[in-house]
């Protein structure tokens, strides 16, 4: 016994002192020794991990089954969330300032360029991973009963991801943004019935869906503010809620697997 104590020495006693303290125990409520009980508690007693089941069928661990695509998509969303909040400290969604704010991010502000680059490239990455996540779920037939409705939620998340990326596209207020959003929103003119140039139009250009989207007949200051609010509040909230339901349903139905 005393021999063992000597071998571990000071550091061992130091660690024991910390993990044995009442403060440590108030945070971590179970031991870390490799027992079934601890491995279960590691998941269930942790808020961030408890969306996982305690145990899973072996095939679900294989990377070549899921390719981690859903998880990666969510992780990129978190990256977008964090970088997006930091960008909001430097960006004003007003025509007079928007472009210069982005310009100064790229030139003046410490780490501004990498912050914006990560947000921009992360948005592209998220669109790619969410599309390929859908491909994976299709190819494995994972939308078969009882998971049909979770596929529907997934489609809504895909659309929201595209809308998030699209609404962010306008914010730098440069030629690329202006041209891209003009082209995109011009499509709304052609909506049947509700677009002023669409078939069977029943509204003029001051009352059609494009006007609602842009808050005017052209891409202007009101559109910039609308896209900003959609981009930083409304759409992320929708994504968070839908993603929460998406994960919860996977948890309830279990991950798909061979019969």
């Amino acid at each position: 016994m005393s021999e063992q104590k000597d071998r571990y020495g000071l550091s061992h006693r130091f660690i024991k002192g910390i993990t044995g303290s009442s403060i440590w125990k108030s945070v971590f409520r179970h031991g870390y020794a490799n027992t079934d009980k601890n491995r279960a508690l590691q998941i269930t007693s942790n808020f961030f991990l408890h969306v996982h089941p305690i145990r899973l069928k072996k095939h679900a661990f294989r990377i070549r089954f899921t390719w981690c695509l859903g998880g990666i998509t969510f992780f990129v969303f978190i990256v977008e969330f964090v970088t997006g909040i930091l960008l909001m400290f430097y960006y004003r969604p007003v025509v007079e300032f928007a472009y210069m704010d982005i310009k100064s991010l790229m030139i003046d502000i410490p780490f501004g360029a990498i912050l914006r680059n990560m947000h921009r490239w992360g948005a592209h990455l998220m669109v790619i991973t969410v599309i390929f996540h859908m491909l994976r779920v299709f190819l494995t037939g994972s939308y078969k009963p009882p998971r049909e409705f979770n596929w529907v939620i997934g489609v809504l998340l895909l659309i929201n991801t595209l809308l998030l990326s699209f609404s962010g596209y306008l914010l730098p207020w440069d030629q690329l943004a202006y041209g891209g959003i003009s082209i995109g929103t011009n499509m709304a003119r052609a909506v049947p019935f509700l677009g002023h140039e669409g078939p069977f139009a029943v509204v003029d250009k001051y009352h059609d869906v494009r006007f609602v989207l842009l808050g005017g007949t052209e891409v202007g200051p009101v559109a910039l503010l609308r896209f900003y609010v959609l981009h930083v509040i409304l759409l992320p909230m929708v994504v968070l809620i839908l993603a929460g339901v998406h994960f919860w349903r996977i948890r309830k139905d279990n991950i798909s697997g061979p019969l």
Binding site: H59, F61, I72, M106, M118, W121, H124, F166, G180
Partner: protein, 240 residues
């Protein structure tokens, strides 16, 4: 009763299950680290684009939508905006949402067994690949005024179009669309032996309609590129 079943199932499959901690959580951590490394390196090497400030009086030529919508923009060459920008994306979204309720042919789930789901896989991959082919053309092969430019051609060379487009007579258009959609439906029912019985009439008809609509896109593209057809059907209200 539901709970009872769960207990039995748990006891039965207890052997082929594995603890999530730490194996799966560790893989998730590795994936996250990989994504962070990728994004940081990418962001250090390549700056996000920032062109001159927006100027409503001056538009870029070509003005391109974000890449994931370029497939739709590319379709504007072949279809009016209400089709390319509204009906086609609407059908894509509706079709995607319907998939689990239409594809009830067999319960194979949770593994890659494409050979057992040939029709579903073929239809999905056809749309998936077409989406990316159109994006590729829109992103890399379209230059000023949306003219076709090979990657090695300079955009400085101004292109002009001297092709004269023509449209079907409205009667011919009705016959053509009727043949394509109604004839195509009967043909699918005859060729796909017994799948109407397996899936039910409503499901089969929705699948056939969505598939024919999807196939109509390359058909129209071919008519345009090979025979300079502008519209298959002209009416005073809309053109297809």
């Amino acid at each position: 009763m539901e709970n009872d079943n769960k207990v039995v199932e748990k006891g039965k499959s207890a052997t082929d299950k594995e603890f999530v901690w730490p194996d799966l959580v560790f893989k998730e951590l590795l994936a996250s680290v990989g994504v962070v490394v990728l994004l940081v390196v990418w962001s250090l090497l390549v700056d996000a684009p920032l062109r001159p400030e927006a100027d409503p009086a001056w538009t870029e030529n070509p003005a391109k939508a974000p890449w994931y919508f370029l497939g739709l923009q590319e379709m504007l060459v072949y279809f009016d905006p209400w089709l390319a920008g509204v009906v086609v994306p609407g059908l894509i979204v509706a079709g995607l949402i319907f998939i689990p309720y239409l594809d009830i042919n067999n319960p194979i789930s949770g593994e890659y067994r494409l050979g057992k789901r040939k029709m579903a896989t073929l239809l999905f991959l056809f749309g998936f690949i077409m989406w990316f082919v159109l994006i590729f053309v829109g992103a890399f092969l379209r230059g000023p005024s949306w003219y076709f430019y090979w990657p090695w051609e300079s955009w400085a060379v101004v292109k002009h179009s001297n092709e004269v487009l023509w449209s079907f007579h409205w009667l011919a258009g009705v016959v053509f669309l009727g043949l394509f959609f109604i004839g195509g439906t009967f043909l699918s029912i005859v060729i796909g032996k017994g799948f109407v019985q397996r899936l039910g009439r409503t499901r089969s008809l929705i699948i056939i309609f969505l598939a024919l609509s999807m196939f109509f896109i390359p058909v129209k593209i071919a008519l345009r590129l090979l025979f300079n057809v502008k519209y298959v059907l002209r009416t005073p209200f809309f053109n297809i």
